[in-house]
């Protein structure tokens, strides 16, 4: 096997805390940490080491990363000073003028702000709290500054029918980059997938509307529409391959090959408190186990797409089959594809969902 390429991208999940309760969150059900959150000094050491290894893109996410505002500013500066491009992924309810000023002074290059819906009432239903006006205020504040801005809206059955209004809202606000991601089923979203799974009609109508709008707003607004893999016959090229490009640090320092990797209960992940990032990336079992193509079962092993989609998503394979090395059931060539089909095409009478919340009783 050729030696692994260096990591290029690091996602820092500064905290799992969040004042919203979105049922589509990919964070783990167990939001309570066994160990305290990493300190600022621990984060800095990890970021410096990651940049030294080859990381050039750094994202700050969570939970809600602005809940650690002073640390966020310090870490943005630390990453920028060492040449990395920094992204803040936020729901926007705490990004006031003072914090935005401090982040821009620190060199922040890009802000992604998420909305739950294009209007107040549905937004409150999904987020569990009334914050839409606050988000619009933040959006306008960031749009008026010299920093790249992306508006993000995760689509699912509860808000899919308001997609025309999301597009109209983005156009009205003069948004240059809009990301419309159909929900992916990890963490809370997996628990709530019966209520969140869009209908085929919603997905197809959405794709057509986005295509039409992209054409009309060509040069003004760039729209990304992420298709849900449950509705495609081929799996997504998850993370561009396990341990190929990206790593994630959890609030308590676990080093993951993908933000959803804690779903895989059979793996033990290294931690920046006891391991270097270098040893984790190049030497740990958790990173090496699904690297390359040698681990693949059939039909992946002999598939002509094995270096295109890498067998799909390991986390999804584990969640659906209990075996993280299985072919992703989202692939029509998987012998477990019926698991996805059954879920996708079921009747939609089951609409109950649990809001994301910290429950120490969950393991």
């Amino acid at each position: 096997m050729t030696p692994a390429a260096p990591p290029r991208s690091l996602l820092c999940e500064l905290t799992y805390r969040c004042n919203l309760q979105c049922p589509y969150c990919y964070n783990p059900l167990k939001l309570a940490l066994n160990e305290p959150e990493l300190t600022r000094a621990e984060w800095m050491r990890a970021i410096e080491e990651a940049i030294g290894l080859g990381v050039v893109q750094i994202g700050f996410s969570g939970g809600e990363p602005t809940l650690r505002a002073a640390d966020l500013v310090a870490l943005t500066k630390c990453a920028t000073d060492r040449g990395a491009y920094t992204n803040l992924i936020t729901q926007g309810t705490f990004l006031d003028d003072a914090l935005l000023d401090a982040l821009l002074d620190a060199g922040l290059a890009h802000v992604q702000i998420s909305i739950q819906a294009p209007e107040r009432e549905l937004s409150a239903t999904i987020a569990g709290t009334d914050v839409f006006e606050k988000k619009v205020e933040t959006l306008r504040r960031v749009a008026g500054r010299d920093v790249a801005l992306t508006l993000n809206c995760v689509l699912h059955r509860l808000n899919h029918d308001s997609l025309p209004d999301v597009l109209a809202f983005a156009e009205r606000e003069g948004i240059a980059r809009l990301e419309l991601a159909n929900v992916q089923f990890y963490g809370w979203a997996y628990r709530n997938r019966a209520a969140l799974m869009p209908t085929r009609e919603q997905v197809e109508r959405g794709a057509a509307l986005v295509a039409e709008t992209s054409l009309r707003l060509r040069g003004k607004m760039d729209i990304t529409y992420v298709l849900p893999d449950y509705f495609e016959e081929l799996p997504k090229p998850c993370m561009h391959g396990w341990g190929q490009l990206a790593l994630t640090l959890t609030p308590d320092g676990r080093i993951l090959p993908c933000p959803a990797a804690t779903s895989i209960e059979t793996l033990v992940f290294p931690n920046v408190r006891t391991s270097t990032v270098r040893d984790a990336w190049y030497g740990s079992e958790a990173f090496n186990i699904y690297r390359g193509t040698a681990w693949m079962p059939e039909p992946c092993r002999s598939c002509e797409r094995r270096e295109i989609d890498f067998g799909g998503c390991r986390c999804q394979a584990f969640l659906l089959t209990g075996d993280a090395a299985a072919t992703d059931p989202a692939c029509a060539r998987s012998d477990r594809h019926e698991l996805v089909v059954a879920y996708r095409d079921r009747d939609d009478s089951d609409t109950a969902w649990s809001p994301r919340r910290l429950d120490p009783a969950l393991r």
Partner: protein, 76 residues
């Protein structure tokens, strides 16, 4: 959007949550895209620099910068 030189001399373009590896011509074109030159100026300078016919480079420059502008990474 940020143009970056890697330790091995290659060029990388950093965009919101993305990394694009550039060839030498693309890197040179972007280094010239500073708001004071239009596509034709950039193509002409590159043609001089790489000692290539104007026409061949002009099309590539228009495609590259057009693509980046369309994605909102560059203002024209």
């Amino acid at each position: 959007m940020r143009l970056r030189r890697e330790p091995d001399g290659s060029a990388t373009l950093l965009v919101p949550e993305g990394i694009v590896s550039l060839n030498e011509t693309a890197a040179a074109a972007l280094a010239l895209a500073d708001g004071t030159r239009d596509d034709d100026d950039i193509a002409a300078e590159l043609a001089r620099h790489f000692d290539a016919p104007d026409g061949a480079i002009a099309e590539d420059v228009r495609t590259l910068l057009g693509d980046l502008a369309e994605r909102g990474f560059l203002t024209r």
